[in-house]
Symmetry: C2
Subunit: 370 residues, 2 copies
């Protein structure tokens, strides 16, 4: 197979969803993950590509998962267990398993508790990378519930006025059901940018915006600046000098900083782990929650009201030079429609990486014509 | 009494905590509020002054409460009731009662549910002003719980790319217990500034910072600008053109906007009310939650870890020109120590307003020597 393979000439080519999921499933299975877990992991990972969140999809994450299983830092067959539990809560020890397939199990537990007592919340310690937080939060939607997901992936972000990273990009995902409109799905880092945004600016040849990162002494850089060349580990020298959402004290960076601490408390301290600035570098803690809407208000009325709310937001008259006002989750839903139909675009370097990986693992190549 | 009273010559004078609470309690009682409710309202309101959150204390809010009771928009004797309930949840109709004294009752319910099932959450519809959200969240602390409080006070904030306000400043308060360190207490608008910040800049003779507000057409103002003269109702022409936290799309305003929508869903849509951009102008919806830490992890370990976390944050080496890195809740705790001991500073105009109010209501004047 490998001999016949030609790297595509165009920058990105579209591959079918099902074929990509199957390929990724086989790679996880080859890495020692059980069949069902590999299927789930492939679905979660490819779902990010499907929704246009390429930063958390195949092209950006699969390589690091392969490395993690290879060097033993990720456990392919974790003996995860509930270590503490009440009617509405649970704490899980992930035994170094990937959040990608353990967070859905935690979310199932949260949903089942929310059916009983109205709310379910589960913290997860000793975990590994979560994947796209929105996937797990959105699991609540088909149960007519609100879903929440957070993760604390380790220090990259400066506290306001500080010169040393103390917090992760600590994202918050929140998904609420609607009737006909796309669900409201917020999935946001509590830092001003996600960690891979600097590398992305470099690849696209654009400047870093004012307010993204700080000088080595902690002073926010408030002018557009060239993204630096990558370090050997593909990070940049600004990777652990990202500013909290709000950028400066005057613009409210103490709020992004405060939200980051809150996420760290939900994920790490509440699960009995250390906050990431104090703990093991490999450990990543997570938090999921489900809220049964009907426990508060009739679900049908809620969904109709959500539709009205989403519509009034989208119909807000736009400012000059902007075509429309968006709502969180709407661009991703539009992207998903397109990619389900027309395939998922992968950069040719990613196609080559997948092909080389499949060849090495002796996995059948079905993504592109040979 | 009135004849003898002299407006203080200094801008601010310190008044004792207990005397201020008593005076405010008597004012609420005069307005028709029951004795116990008046005592609670006074405690909540003066607690904001005590913690240095003057925007939500006596000087900034009492006058609007007096007006609201006077014109009938606030109900002094609300027949509030639970309209829907499950083991972990409740929905309250506030019957136009002030959130100041109803949110503590909702929080009591949330705490009692969290004792039973690990978490308790209560939404509140048809309410009036909440006061300082942190007060209600902090009620959870003495029960060794995490407290949450949010409120959706009506459209002042633009969606990203929009030219018409659709969201309130929609604050989120989050309080988590510690052992010896001050509790972590975040209380933040999801907009870049609180609504009264423009008037404050005007009074202080400072400029509005870039990124606070937008032009009438929705374009963010990214240069320092003079605060405008006040409108007749003491608002400013920028009051309903506040930008979401993040200010511009490049700096992440879609995140502040998304958080604002989330708060609106928790408070308004989940309580069966309309989001404030669609609903009655006077209605303000709230949300409170309590999380029983010990349901997740032993409370003693949690508190010790919180102390470690708070210390490592505070000990972060500071950036140039900054003395120290702060943690949310710490400046307020320091302020409270000082004001408990030395009294609460009130501007002489506020003293005069209180004195005139007491004279009119025939309430004994004990705040300053006559």
């Amino acid at each position: 197979m490998l001999q016949q393979f030609k790297v595509p000439e165009t920058d990105a080519i579209r591959v079918p969803l099902a074929a990509l999921e199957t390929t990724v499933q086989r790679i996880f299975a080859h890495l020692g993950v059980g069949e069902n877990e590999a299927t789930l992991a492939a679905e979660v990972l490819v779902n990010a590509d499907l929704r246009g969140v390429d930063s958390h999809g195949v092209s950006n994450q699969l390589n690091s998962y392969i490395k993690g299983y290879g060097d033993g830092s990720i456990n392919p067959l974790p003996n995860w267990k509930i270590v503490r539990e009440s009617s509405g809560t649970a704490t899980i020890d992930c035994d170094r398993g990937l959040g990608l397939m353990l967070a859905p199990k935690a979310m199932d537990i949260a949903i089942s508790k929310a059916k009983e007592v109205g709310i379910g919340m589960v913290t997860m310690r000793q975990g590994r990378h979560l994947g796209m937080a929105a996937y797990h939060a959105m699991m609540a939607l088909k149960h007519d519930m609100i879903g929440i997901c957070m993760t604390a992936p380790g220090p990259l972000v400066l506290p306001t006025f500080g010169r040393k990273a103390r917090l992760g990009t600590n994202p918050i995902a929140f998904a609420a059901p609607t009737k006909h409109e796309p669900a409201f799905v917020l999935d946001m880092a509590t830092s001003v940018i996600a960690a891979n945004k600097i590398g992305l600016a470099r690849r696209l040849g654009t400047l870093m915006e004012p307010g993204w990162v700080a000088e080595a002494d902690g002073t926010p850089i408030m002018e557009p600046a060239d993204p630096p060349p990558p370090l050997p580990d593909s990070r940049s020298r600004y990777s652990d000098r990202i500013l909290p959402l709000g950028s400066t004290r005057e613009l409210g960076s103490h709020k992004g900083y405060g939200l980051g601490v809150m996420v760290e408390i939900f994920c790490a301290v509440l699960s009995g782990a250390q906050p990431s600035t104090l703990g093991e570098a490999d450990d990543i803690e997570h938090f999921v929650g489900a809220i049964n809407v009907d426990a508060f208000t009739p679900i049908e009325e809620f969904k109709v009201m959500m539709d009205n709310f989403m519509r009034v937001l989208k119909e807000t008259p736009p400012a000059p030079e902007h075509e429309r006002v968006l709502v969180a989750g709407q661009p991703e839903a539009e992207m998903e429609l397109d990619r389900r139909k027309n395939g998922i675009p992968l950069h040719r370097e990613v196609i080559k990486f997948l092909h080389d990986t499949c060849a090495e693992m002796r996995i059948e190549w079905t993504l592109t014509p040979n």
